[in-house]
């Protein structure tokens, strides 16, 4: 469940005041030293990313991090065609778009009774959901493959979409239920006394009030699916059905020795949507979105 996530906490300036000079035996590392250590870690972190950026606009192929002698967009030109980029990206969009839609709709529906009604099965149900969020989906793929072979769903985009949706569901339901718990029930009761039925209450009252929560679940589900490699790698076979996560892999093995520039350009294009979505998520919901609920239970 790679999608399990907490957002970055808002920058809080709670830093402890400067140390008192009363305790000379405790030499506290200065702010400067801490900053330097953190910058060093950041440099190590950024090197691989920088390499991808430079390799994509460089006219030479090398794994070494070097400043390109000339900047060029040739690598992007070379990959921006139907077979390399457009079709795999479209496939990713179809798989993840529909998969996310199914996950979000099913988890909204499922979260509602879990959040609103008490019943004997509620607790075991919630535990089952929570338990499923922890199961390694990787391990399920071999039996899923056998099952898909038997029901003739191998190499089927809809089948793969539904499996992706199902695998994202436990976390989606769990998050959605936590967000829904935050919507006060009083407003619902008012709507009900005006004669609204459950679906109307859910659609007209509850969902508008938890829109940020729905956005969070949608974006996180989508990001998780967009990067998913193993599921489509196992369930899809035809080259023309492969999403970007698998096509970049085949590209990687086929062009091993020479095409680092093109591979980097493609990797950049393929990563762009999720990076943008994440930025949108972080900016739009700022410090306010406490996905922490996912961890705190």
């Amino acid at each position: 469940m790679a999608a399990v996530a907490t957002p970055p906490a808002p920058p809080v300036s709670k830093s402890v005041p400067a140390p008192a000079a009363r305790h000379p035996r405790r030499v506290r590392p200065g702010r400067l030293a801490i900053n330097l250590v953190l910058i060093a870690v950041s440099v190590l972190y950024v090197l691989p990313l920088l390499w991808m950026l430079l390799a994509s606009v460089s006219d030479t192929n090398s794994f070494r991090l070097t400043w390109p002698s000339a900047l060029t967009l040739d690598n992007f030109d070379a990959v921006l065609n139907v077979d390399t980029t457009y079709r795999p990206m479209l496939n990713s969009l179809l798989l993840c778009g529909f998969g996310t839609a199914v996950t979000v709709v099913a988890s909204v529906l499922c979260a509602y009774p879990l959040s609103r009604y008490r019943s004997r099965v509620r607790r075991p149900f919630l535990y089952t959901i929570l338990f499923s969020t922890g199961l390694p989906i990787t391990a399920v793929m071999i039996p899923v493959y056998s099952m898909f072979v038997q029901v003739n769903l191998i190499d089927s985009m809809p089948g793969t979409t539904l499996f992706l949706a199902a695998s994202a569901l436990p976390f989606g339901i769990w998050l959605m239920k936590n967000f829904m718990d935050g919507v006060p029930i009083v407003l619902e009761e008012a709507a009900r006394s005006d004669g609204a039925n459950t679906m109307q209450v859910l659609w007209r009252v509850v969902l508008p009030l938890m829109r940020p929560g729905v956005v969070v679940v949608t974006i996180f589900t989508f990001i998780g699916m967009w990067g998913n490699f193993f599921v489509p790698f196992i369930l899809l076979l035809s080259p023309e059905k492969l999403p970007a996560s698998v096509s970049v892999f085949t590209f990687l093995s086929a062009h091993d020795q020479t095409q680092y520039g093109q591979l980097s350009a493609f990797s950049l294009l393929y990563s762009l949507p999720v990076v943008m979505l994440y930025l949108l998520l972080a900016r739009k919901l700022g410090g306010g979105f406490a996905l922490g609920g996912a961890l705190k239970g």
Partner: protein, 310 residues
């Protein structure tokens, strides 16, 4: 494994009986109705395969010619525990999980979160930005970048050359270390976010009181902050263990489990047995082992969380 079956759809499985009156039962049934799509999806696509998994693990099913599938009892498991390649995969998985998750991601995430409290704002933003960027990247792209980084002619070796340290053909001589570091690079953001949130929740009065009593920064960290965020540390350990246990794409992109089987963790071994050696039954038995390990961690995780309401 019966506990893996999905819960009964809504209240449909156990209608509430209050002295024979049908109305409450019907009402609970109606209330449970919205859960049906989710329950059907989970039953068909998750519980189904898991049940299949349990069954296949005891057969000799092969990729070609499913007609000849026989029930073979625990043969797959006795075979696995005698198979040096399987034991190798178990050992490498343990190394990978302990090295990259429990030690790597957890410690680095905690260290960064603690240090960031005292850093200046731009540095804090920088660390957050780059660490999260590595986390948001798709798995295969991360694998490709890490391959390039650890490659013989790659950035790491140029860096080592620059500071006159001996370089290594990382992917060849110590591939498991390379994939561990790659997983630390990719996954630390999660721990960092968990710990940053947890540290921000530590009551400031506690820290200040400790400081009044003369506790230095280390003592404040060891005696005040760490004990307070202990639940978050445990939860984080469970979650990153589960995530790391099922890492496939990253390792497969970097080394495909090789050279030989020097970075072949359980998911890679499982994949190779099932698809390259066409031994679906054997591969499924390995999947079942992986599932059971994951399930155990999942149970501990749930125990740590405890649903607080009802």
């Amino acid at each position: 494994m019966t506990t893996l079956a999905p819960a009964p759809p809504g209240t449909g499985g156990h209608p509430r009986r209050s002295r024979g009156a049908p109305a409450p039962a019907v009402r609970s049934l109606l209330r449970g109705l919205p859960t049906v799509p989710a329950v059907v999806l989970l039953a068909v696509f998750l519980a189904g395969p898991i049940a299949y998994c349990v069954y296949y693990a005891f057969t000799d099913m092969q990729l070609t010619g499913a007609a000849g599938t026989h029930f073979v009892g625990v043969d797959n498991f006795t075979r696995a525990f005698k198979d040096t390649d399987f034991l190798n995969a178990m050992w490498l998985t343990l190394l990978f999980v302990v090295g990259s998750a429990v030690i790597g991601q957890n410690t680095l995430g905690l260290a960064l979160a603690v240090l960031m409290q005292k850093a200046t704002q731009p540095v804090r933003a920088l660390v957050n930005g780059v660490v999260i960027a590595a986390w948001v990247l798709p798995e295969v792209v991360a694998g490709y970048l890490m391959y390039a980084f650890f490659y013989d002619q790659g950035s790491l070796n140029s860096l080592l050359d620059a500071v006159h340290l001996p370089d290594q053909n990382w992917l060849y001589t110590m591939p498991i270390l390379a994939v561990c570091l790659a997983n630390v690079w990719r996954g630390t953001a999660f721990s960092l976010m968990v710990f940053t949130a947890a540290i921000n929740d530590v009551p400031q009065e506690l820290v200040e009181a400790a400081e009044m009593d003369g506790a230095g920064p280390w003592q404040r960290l060891w005696r005040v902050v760490l004990p307070v965020i202990r639940p978050s540390i445990l939860t984080n350990l469970m979650l990153i263990t589960l995530q790391t246990l099922s890492v496939f794409g990253l390792i497969y992109t970097m080394t495909r489990g090789g050279p030989g089987n020097k970075s072949e963790t359980l998911p890679i071994f499982m994949y190779q047995q099932a698809f390259q050696n066409s031994l679906i039954g054997y591969g499924t038995a390995i999947a079942l082992v992986l599932l059971v390990v994951g399930a155990l961690f999942s149970v501990v995780y749930i125990r740590l969380l405890k649903l607080e309401d009802d």
